[in-house]
Amino acid sequence: MSPHDLMLTAILLPLATALLIALTGRSPNIREAVTLAGAAGLAVTVYELIAGFDAATAQPLVIAEILPGFALMLRAEPIGLVFAGVAAGLWGLNSLYSIGYMRAEHAPRQTRFYACFALALSAAMAIAMAGTLATLFVAYEVLTLVTYPLVVHWQTEGAIAGARRYLAYLLATSLVPFLGAILWTWIAAGTLDFTPGGILDGKLGDGLLTVLLLLFAYGVGKAALMPLHGWLPAAMVAPTPVSALLHAVAVVKAGVFTLLKIAVYIFGIDVIGRGVGDVLIVIAAASVIAASVIAMTKDDLKARLAYSTVAQLAMVTLAVAIGSPLAIGAGILQLVMHAWGKITLFFGAGAIQIATHKKKLSEISGIGVKLPLLMASFLVGSLSVAGLPPFGGMWPKFLLLEAASARDLYLLVGCLGLSTLLTLGYLVPIFVTAVFRKPGEDDPHALPEGDHGHGDGPLPLLALIPPVVTAAGCVVLFVAAPAILRFVAPAIGLGALP
């Protein structure tokens, strides 16, 4: 199939899966089979796209022209394909996990759940393949709206309130600052197409460019930059597979991916490198530290992971703000590594909830004995997110350190070092409490020894395999990182590898 057909199938396949899921709603097993088939199909399509990609022949494919100059146009390019690869790769695993989770929790409305899941993936693919800022904005909005039913899944009072906050933040940031920035770019540069080297060079003064970059940074609500990160913890009301999708695979990744594309194809790397991004560097660095520090105070596991995501995303924003090819490379790698690391953690948190019906850190002391493999993968995930060597997470931090030191930002180097320690500070205690502390050691309302927790159903196999696979993925990615960097290097003008 030609690249254009592949791109179209990448977007339409999940859509078709969603429809098929809706149709086969009656019989859960067929519905689940459809989801998995869709996920597999998407993974193959994206793989073919990546394998068959070469920059020369990537022609744009215009689908529709909403307004003259505001067209829906697709174009394959390395950064997009990396994001598509991450999203497609993890969808299958996430679906497998969802089947295990939702059935263990006997959740209602599962058909709508899987259908919206598929739609979210279709939107993520559209974002990945977007050729213009216009298409990206459209797909971005669709993703927000399609994930709303997922967040509000339980439709309890708390879920509706949480989802309301989720949507308020995302729609408000995208309708006002993001759309405003797009319009400003459209009028200043005359076009919205993603062109290597950027379209804003010389069109606006550096001061205005800084303002525009900030407008984009806060406009893309999904990148959850501090003060406007409120929606991410609020989205914790969703079931765990949705949190996994939201915080690891599609939503936040779409946010930071948008920032990367804007930095590379709208501003142009050297434009940002000229100092346009300095204000953003300060904000992003502060955000990294503040989010990590707040994460430490959270007793609820998922809230802690949510703030951890805010911190890790701020690192990608930091990479965008530094603006050197190396930093952008670090940003792309962080996008990939964080996806795999964080999804393992969410799978772990969800599995703990299924097996022991416990959500708080103070309650889970001593459960590691029953779930050794799960806790092992949780440890791998934590270390990868923290950025320790044997796991993929180390790469982005190292490249960021290198980029920061190349621009003599020594305070930033200190910040990054501190963030690694802080990340350990809030992630490792989870593993330690679960595995090494005796049940009831410092758990205020511990269950008496005899009663090993009511209905500690064994962890369904479906909920155990995905965390282990993604943990293994972290290790594999550690080795594969240079390959990803080489695949993306031409697009971001990265000469020699470090």
Binding site: P227, G230, A290, S292, V293, I294, A295, M296, T297, L373, A376, L383, A386, L388, P389, P390, M394, K397, F398, L401, E402, A404, S405, A406, V413, G417, T420, L421, L422, L424, G425, V428, P429, V432, V435, F436, R437, E441, F478, V479, P482, L497, P498
Partner: protein
């Protein structure tokens, strides 16, 4: 950095079978199966590293150290047979593999990666100790090692554009990993809190790899000599007063590391060979001592029959010429003399003697008074025997490893060492040892930084987090309140315009008419 990782399958790091074995051991339930996998992995790794004629990645001395690591692993596996600790075995194997890989890594990046792996594995071993203190010590261990790793990372990043500070960062990182004085507390608390099997694996890898790295990167740093000597002397004092055998051994480890660092500081090839020889020796006799101490501790302090000879042997290997401990110290001593620092050699010899007395003889006398009821298992005996034989081999055939080793047989160092040992033995055997009253946890204050400090330092940020959280809440509440206020005002205004009888409507029409007229005429 990327070349360090150009890991195509053909050219895997030397210790990979051990890594694999460690992971598999962790997975399987049955301890016996875990241990057999361990043996298999160890043998495979040895065979791969030396027998297949693979290009000699390691120089002779480093190869010897790698063999020592494998021996430790073997001893650990045998010792673990009696004592149930699955986590320690699995993590220990991984640590061994990583240590070998670290030795073989050419670039600083490779070194950083494998030292981090050792750090993670060792932290797990410590935490597997089972007591809350062990968990805290393990967490502190991990945080400090990762801090060192991060400093190393920063050093690598900086030196890619050649700034002078890069070297400082790398040096600081390696000193932390080698438990240099201001930051040596983690070693004391970690090794003391680990399980008996765990302590065996711990003592070998982390610090030795750091010492070797220091030897490769910073030979001849004058400051290191003074640091090393201070460390050796400072660490040996608490051993006089410490009653708990395991804590005493940890102080001994720190002091011996001090000697090595002093050797590195000297920097002459002879000194460096001495350091490597001492490292190999120390790996062997430290593990032997920990093994004996572990066996004792595992039986609640009553020495089993048959352990006494091994305890004696372990004590002797510390300092007796011809065994593991003596050779390295002698070579370093000679190097110091050649460099004109005769007095430093005497300090080292004295420190060596004191360690021999306090770590070896005293516990032998005091702890093996009343023989316990059960016997030591054959495996423990075999492990101890393996290590002593290794010590013997090193002591006698050390010369094959490096040209400088033959001084072990010179007269003067032999005599000086012999006198020192005799005096130490004299003091220890007679009631004189009463002057050094022993109590458990002596000089604990010296073991800075305490685990609780390290964890508190990191958790301290938590308080900052809570503060930020509160600020976020109040700001949110404030904005929300403001928003509601504006909303009510707007609704009030809008409602004022739209509610009311028909008359008001017509009145509004007239007012609009007048406004439009004014505007048009204006």
């Amino acid at each position: 950095m990327t070349e360090a990782l150009a890991l195509d399958l053909a050219q895997l790091p030397p210790g990979w079978p051990l890594l694999l074995a460690g992971l598999l051991a962790g997975l399987c339930r049955l301890p016996i199966a875990a241990r057999n996998i361990g043996y298999l992995g160890m043998l495979a790794s040895l065979w791969l590293m030396f027998m297949t004629g693979a290009p000699a990645v390691l120089q002779p001395l480093d190869a010897a150290l790698a063999i020592a690591f494998h021996l430790v692993a073997g001893a650990g596996l045998m010792f673990a047979a009696a004592h149930e600790d699955r986590m320690a075995v699995a993590a220990g194997l991984v640590a061994t593999g990583a240590a070998c890989a670290a030795l073989a890594s050419r670039s600083l990046g490779g070194l950083m990666i494998w030292t981090e792996v050792i750090a993670i594995a060792s932290a797990l071993i410590v935490m597997a100790g089972g007591t809350p203190a062990a968990v805290r010590a393990g967490l502190a261990y991990l945080l400090l090692q990762v801090l060192a790793g991060v400093l190393l990372l920063i050093g690598i990043a900086l030196d890619s554009n050649g700034t002078v500070t890069a070297g400082a960062f790398v040096l600081l990182a390696l000193l932390i990993k080698a438990a240099a004085p201001p930051v040596h507390g983690w070693l004391i608390h970690a090794y003391a809190a680990a399980s008996p099997t765990g302590s065996l694996f711990l003592s070998a890898f982390a610090t030795k790899v750091a010492v070797i790295a220091l030897a490769r990167l910073f030979p001849g740093e004058p400051a290191l000599i003074w640091l090393g000597l201070f460390m050796a002397v400072m660490a040996v004092i608490p051993t006089l007063f410490e009653s708990d055998w395991r804590r005493l051994l940890t102080w001994a480890v720190v002091s011996q590391l001090g000697v090595m660092i002093a050797g590195i500081g000297l920097g002459t090839p002879e000194a460096l060979d001495g350091v490597r020889l001492l490292a190999i020796g120390h790996v062997i006799y430290a593990t032997l001592l920990f093994l004996v101490a572990g066996a004792l501790e595992a039986r609640g302090g009553k020495a089993p029959a048959g352990l006494r000879p091994f305890a004696l042997l372990a004590a002797l290997t510390i300092g007796l010429p011809g065994l593991a401990g003596y050779l390295g110290k002698a070579v370093i001593g000679e190097a110091l003399i050649h460099a004109g620092l005769g007095w430093a050699d005497i300090v080292i010899v004295i420190v060596g003697a004191v360690v021999f007395a306090t770590a070896g003889l005293r516990p032998l006398i005091e702890k093996f008074g009343t023989p316990g009821d059960d016997r030591i298992t054959s495996r423990e005996g075999a492990a101890a025997l393996l290590l002593t034989l290794a010590g013997l081999a090193l002591g006698s055939f050390g010369g094959a490893l490096s040209p400088h080793a033959e001084i072990a047989f010179h007269a003067t160092p032999l005599i000086v060492q012999g006198i020192a040992l005799a005096v130490a033995a004299l003091v220890m055997l007679t009631p004189l040892r009463r002057i050094f009253r022993q109590r458990p946890g002596a000089f604990a204050a010296l073991a800075v930084p305490l685990p609780s400090w390290v964890i508190a330092a990191v958790d301290g940020f938590g308080r900052l987090g809570a503060l930020l959280d509160r600020i976020g809440e109040t700001a949110g509440g404030f904005l929300g309140g403001g928003g509601r206020l504006v909303g009510q005002a707007a609704v009030g205004l809008a409602r004022y315009v739209s509610v009311g009888g028909v008359g008001d409507g017509v009145l509004w029409t007239l007012t609009v008419l007048t406004i439009v007229l004014i505007v048009s005429f204006g």
